[in-house]
């Protein structure tokens, strides 16, 4: 206990300052790369649900970020958003793209999830996501057989809970998009 308090303060401050300076250089060096990757990843996700869009624009309405997709003639062809909701084990994140003129969903893409591998994890597969391709808006009914009308969604066998969660997330997201863009439903 013979060390003076001033020495302790000085040592810690010096270490803190050096590390802050070093990190600020690293930050400047890496930030452009990191931003590029993030933009790319987001673009890819948007593109997967709005396949015909050429350009994208972010727009914040009611505190929710929407991605508007435009075709080559600058005409808005659809809107996408990231929606979250509880799954079987943890939050599921889904990207949803819709056509606002004709009130149907282009498609969905599962961005992140922690469902059971081999069962619930199949929500990321084509087989399940096909359920939402060109689907009209409405309240979806998850069924354990081949869908017989437009509002039915075929569950993954053995993973009804995950299937229902995604249907619920999509349903809620569509409502939010409609609220923001003043659609019907």
């Amino acid at each position: 206990m013979d060390t003076k308090i001033s020495k302790l303060v000085v040592t810690l401050s010096v270490i803190g300052i050096i590390s802050a300076i070093a990190l600020s250089f690293v930050y400047q060096w890496t930030t452009p790369f990191i931003e590029k990757h993030q933009l790319e990843a987001r673009k890819q996700a948007v593109r997967s649900v709005l396949p015909e869009a050429e350009e994208f624009q972010e727009k914040i309405i009611n505190g929710i970020t929407f991605f508007e997709g435009f075709d080559s003639s600058q005409k808005r062809i659809g809107v996408a958003m990231i929606a979250k909701g509880p799954g079987y084990q943890n939050i599921i994140e889904v990207m949803i793209g819709v056509n606002l003129e004709k009130d149907y969903i282009f498609g969905i893409d599962v961005l992140s999830h922690e469902e059971t591998p081999g069962l619930g994890a199949r929500i990321t597969g084509q087989q399940y996501r096909k359920n939402y391709q060109n689907k009209p808006f409405g309240d979806y009914n998850v069924v354990k057989r081949t869908p017989q009308n437009d509002l039915e969604v075929e569950a993954i066998s053995g993973a009804t809970i995950s299937s229902r969660s995604v249907a619920k997330i999509v349903q809620d997201a569509v409502k939010k998009i409609n609220e923001a863009y003043g659609g019907g439903v």
């Binding site: 060390t3 020495k7 810690l12 070093a22 690293v26 990191i34 591998p117």
Partner: protein, 199 residues
């Protein structure tokens, strides 16, 4: 001196291996070893932080007052961890995404703080480097072995390349946390058996 350095290096590989003997740094060991890629990346990232901070701390050990050595160590470790985090995000975005939270958590990996306290703050830099290399490699090889076992049984592949073919029914438990506990337990058991035989 050289002999001592060699001994320090060899220590972490087997005799005082951080995972199977000291049983420290369990958080990444159990959490990110579901694929070999993740295990290897975590091993290398941890080793990098360990080596850099052991070098810096053993160089400046005389300048750091005893009362504030733990906060100082943490500051230095956190700096290197943040660097690693940025670096991975910028140049290996896929690995950064799959390790996500566990890279910042290297700060609190007790293997790293433990080695500063037990070794780097008491020994010359040359020996600290040898110790960090040994511990880092010791940590990495066990992570890779563990994740190889888990990926092989849990997905039938190694490095994402299918090895066991379509006849193999993946044992899902192995990529879940429960599988991490089971395989680590069995691994430590086997290692202990080999050790006991050796003595």
């Amino acid at each position: 001196m050289l002999k001592k350095i060699y001994k320090d290096f060899k220590n972490g590989l087997w005799k005082e291996n951080p995972i199977i003997v000291l049983v420290i740094g369990m958080c990444p060991t159990l959490a990110v070893t579901n694929t070999v890629e993740n295990g290897l990346a975590m091993g290398i990232a941890t080793s990098f932080v360990l080596i850099s901070s052991e070098i810096v701390i053993s160089l400046f050990k005389k300048l750091i007052p005893n009362n504030v050595r733990i906060p100082s160590f943490i500051l230095i470790i956190a700096t290197f961890v943040t660097f690693t985090d940025y670096f991975l995000k910028a140049f290996f975005p896929d690995i950064a995404a799959s390790l996500s939270l566990f890279i910042p958590l290297i700060v609190v990996n007790c293997l790293i703080l433990g080695r500063q306290e037990a070794f780097a703050s008491k020994n010359p830099t040359s020996r600290a480097i040898a110790d960090a290399l040994g511990m880092g490699i010791g940590f990495t090889w066990v992570l890779v072995l563990l994740s190889a076992v888990r990926e092989l049984f849990g997905m039938g592949s190694i490095f994402g390349i299918g090895i066991l073919g379509s006849w193999y029914e993946p044992m899902v438990i192995m990529v879940l946390p429960a599988g991490a506990f089971l395989s680590l337990g069995i691994l430590v058991g086997i290692m202990n058996m080999i050790k006991r035989r050796g003595n």
